[in-house]
């Protein structure tokens, strides 16, 4: 089943995308359920008629926002900086460093939009949960595959449970994004150091 490309004028597509992008920015900073449609249309300079023409309700917009703005954006941040070295330890550490320290999009006090949305919505909206799970699965697979590659090339211990390790690394990421909200960016540094120690035990 290929994604059904809905026919739409360029202008209409721009309106729609504008709504999704502005909504994403607001949801990142305020949470999904506490971001109102009125707020979104106010910052978007789009009327309510236009909003509900493009989306039959708020949740449909939210799902589109996840799939069309958050997921592509996060893919770039998560999986993008993963594939240059052939040493998993270096590679994964570099990814996490880039993600936590270098990416200019993230605001420490607001954490990670994907982590936030899992926290807020996973138990309240199945469609959201499923979309967020897919993103997590992609990241998980990228990390696990990287480790498996390292196992065959002899850079990672053969008895490493790549999947388990991948989840452990992901949990650390989500957790430090959370702690960062109260302890600030400094806490990222210590986390990266300990991550490095942990990764080196996989050699």
């Amino acid at each position: 089943m290929q994604p059904n490309q809905i026919i739409m004028s360029a202008k209409a597509a721009a309106t729609r995308l504008n709504i999704l992008q502005k909504a994403f920015g607001l949801v990142y900073q305020n949470g999904y359920r506490t971001t109102s449609v009125d707020e979104i249309i106010a910052t978007t300079q789009v009327t309510k008629g236009a909003f509900f023409y493009h989306f039959k309700n708020k949740d449909e917009m939210g799902l589109a926002m996840i799939n069309e703005v958050m997921v592509p954006g996060m893919q770039g941040a998560l999986i993008g900086p993963l594939s240059d070295s052939d040493d998993p330890v270096t590679e994964i550490y570099a990814m996490m460093h880039s993600l936590l320290m270098e990416n200019p999009f993230f605001i420490v006090k607001y954490g990670c939009p994907a982590v936030n949305l899992v926290e807020e919505m996973a138990s309240h909206n199945e469609a959201f949960q499923s979309a967020l799970m897919k993103l997590n699965n992609q990241w998980h697979e990228a990390i696990a595959t990287c480790l498996e590659k390292g196992k065959t090339s002899g850079k990672i211990k053969k008895d490493t449970d790549s999947k388990q390790v991948a989840y452990f690394i992901m949990a650390g990421y989500g957790g430090i994004r959370n702690l960062g909200k109260i302890y600030g960016k400094e806490s990222y540094k210590g986390h990266l150091e300990q991550l490095k120690f942990y990764l080196e035990t996989l050699i």
Copy 2:
């Protein structure tokens, strides 16, 4: 500055505590900002007059809920199961195991109330953030002290950065509570295994 005990009839204190406890339950499952005062008083069987007699507004109630219900409850779950062994690896692992696998209060799909509240409110309410930070600091100190103790008794490597390690462990906890919302309780097990491996590198 000792906590000022406000004089109150036993009945009034019960009403107040009842509000705080019911509010905590609702906030745990639905989030703070999406739990309405009307919802709280409905499940509490208390009228709006009583609610706003005891708390001048919702946020004051929320802060009291954190300090008087969540913090004491979490202290029991976090620090309680920490102090029996003298081996930090065993001790910390046992704490995390009890916290993730044995504590009957937590519902996997709703995660951890303290983690949730940091996620939702840290950037929106300074009083909340400060109260949540204190709780985190307590847990952090308990873990770090446990490690330091292990260093003097020779059970932990002397070059271990106890504070950094403590934050790393805490991040892992918050992160797996988050991932657990989409991957379920099974994911806790793998996390505990990897935590054990990590802890053993501190020996």
